[in-house]
């Protein structure tokens, strides 16, 4: 199993109604690599990340993550893949700490509360941990979302616009976290509009335009 590529796409297409968000994408990403995913708005970056995270399934084509098929091995993939998306996946009415400890309990992590608290201080949210999310700013939500991703310690980390809404110190922190993930051997796919910034982090690049692989 260790020999399988992290992500393998063969003619993957995704349709929303009459619109084709992705059209016959073929690509293979080896393990431990970091991929920069670029392209204009609506080019299919988010759709591609959601497919790899098994949040939705491809209309056509074959998609394997860590050698597992997204059609019938979703649960196994989900245990090893984490997605940082536009939607933060957090409950507005719970506090940051409650959100994180719920996730860590559901993941079956021992000492769930300590783990959640230490992650919160790692992303600089420790002083805000008892506050309900409703009072959080967009940047604070993004920090909580990355803490949620780190909690899972995934083999493949999918980051959709991780730098959006962050202040300069938050950007620096996010960059540190991404570098740390890469040096730990995590496969990272980073979708961003800040191409120059992304190039300094990732060693591979894939450019999408209207749902197809294109030259940047």
């Amino acid at each position: 199993m260790e020999n399988h590529p992290a992500v393998e796409l063969r003619d993957v297409s995704k349709r929303f109604g009459a619109q084709w968000a992705l059209a016959r994408i073929s690509y293979s990403l080896p393990r431990g690599q970091s991929l920069l995913l670029t392209g204009p708005n609506g080019s299919g970056k988010t759709t591609l990340l959601r497919l790899i995270a098994t949040a939705s399934s491809p209309t056509l084509g074959e998609l394997r993550v860590l050698g597992l098929n997204v059609r019938d091995q979703r649960e196994e993939i989900r245990q090893q893949v984490a997605l940082l998306s536009h939607a933060s996946f957090i409950y507005e009415d719970l506090s940051a700490l409650q959100n994180l400890s719920l996730m860590s309990r559901l993941l079956g992590i021992k000492d769930s509360k300590q783990r959640a608290a230490s992650l919160l201080s790692e992303v600089g949210l420790a002083p805000h941990s008892p506050k309900p999310i409703r009072q959080f700013s967009a940047g604070m939500r993004k920090r909580l979302a990355i803490a949620r991703l780190l909690l899972k310690a995934p083999a493949v980390a999918l980051l959709d616009e991780p730098f959006a809404a962050l202040d300069p110190s938050g950007m620096g922190q996010m960059e540190r976290i991404i570098r740390q993930l890469i040096t730990q051997g995590t496969t990272v796919i980073l979708a961003t509009h800040q191409v120059e910034h992304g190039k300094t982090l990732c060693n591979l690049r894939l450019h999408l335009d209207s749902g197809r692989v294109a030259a940047p």
């Binding site: 098994t54 979703r74 989900r78 245990q79 893949v81 996946f89 009415d93 310690a153």
Partner: protein
């Protein structure tokens, strides 16, 4: 890669349920509004049907369940609005949490809210309509619990469907009302029998119908909910 150990269905069910109850507790104002809404519905029945105390007394069970049914629409809609905000339910699904545990947790959470509401409404009903319990309070409690469970299982399944569709506020009652009729009928009849005595010993068959309804729809929800929430 340190693959996260999976936790069992029952444990994830308990965690999802505990999460829902915690959210309900932290947003008590919403819960209070629900109670006041149901209370207002009971009051409106008294005004709409005039001060004919005998009529009100005879139909008290029906009014109680209609108030609960209307309140359940709001509770169900609210319960999935919370999950839709920030796509939190998607987050749990991708964690991964067993979708069947998600169904059982959410449905039990909704049932708990309804049972709580029912127990608050009973004294109001007794006071407002001048009824008394002629069989035991225990039997009334069984009726309330069975009836609320019967609303919540199909309600949770349909709410998950309707919450993603257009016109979701119209769609949920349109789907739920015809479906719920057997359970509503049985719950109303059982409540009336408990309040007014059971000369023909019908209670057993109405309980049987409620139990059967619950069995069918908790089973169907358990089996079909994963299909509903996966994309």
């Amino acid at each position: 890669m340190n693959g996260s150990p999976r936790i069992g269905l029952l444990r994830s069910l308990a965690l999802v349920l505990a999460k829902d109850i915690l959210i309900e507790w932290r947003t008590r104002a919403r819960l209070n509004a629900l109670v006041i809404f149901a209370f207002g519905t009971l009051l409106i029945f008294s005004f709409a049907l005039g001060p004919d105390t005998q009529l009100l007394q005879r139909n008290a069970g029906g009014y109680l369940w209609l108030a609960l049914l209307f309140a359940s629409l709001m509770a169900l809609g609210e319960s999935f609005r919370i999950e839709r905000e920030n796509s939190a339910l998607d987050g749990l699904r991708l964690l991964p949490v067993d979708p069947r545990a998600l169904f059982l947790g959410k449905a039990l959470g909704n049932a708990a809210v309804l049972v709580g509401l029912a127990f608050v409404l009973v004294p109001v009903m007794i006071g407002l309509f001048g009824v008394s319990i002629s069989l035991s309070f225990g039997l009334l409690a069984v009726t309330l619990v069975l009836g609320c469970l019967a609303i919540s299982a199909p309600g949770t399944l349909y709410s998950a469907v309707a919450s993603n569709a257009r016109a979701r506020d119209v769609l949920l009652p349109l789907l739920l009302f015809p479906l719920i009729i057997p359970a509503l009928l049985a719950a109303v009849k059982a409540t009336t029998v408990v309040l007014q005595g059971d000369p023909m010993s019908q209670l057993r068959s109405w309980f049987g119908l409620l139990a059967g309804f619950n069995l069918v729809y908790w089973g169907l929800g358990f089996a079909l909910f994963p299909l509903v929430i996966e994309e």
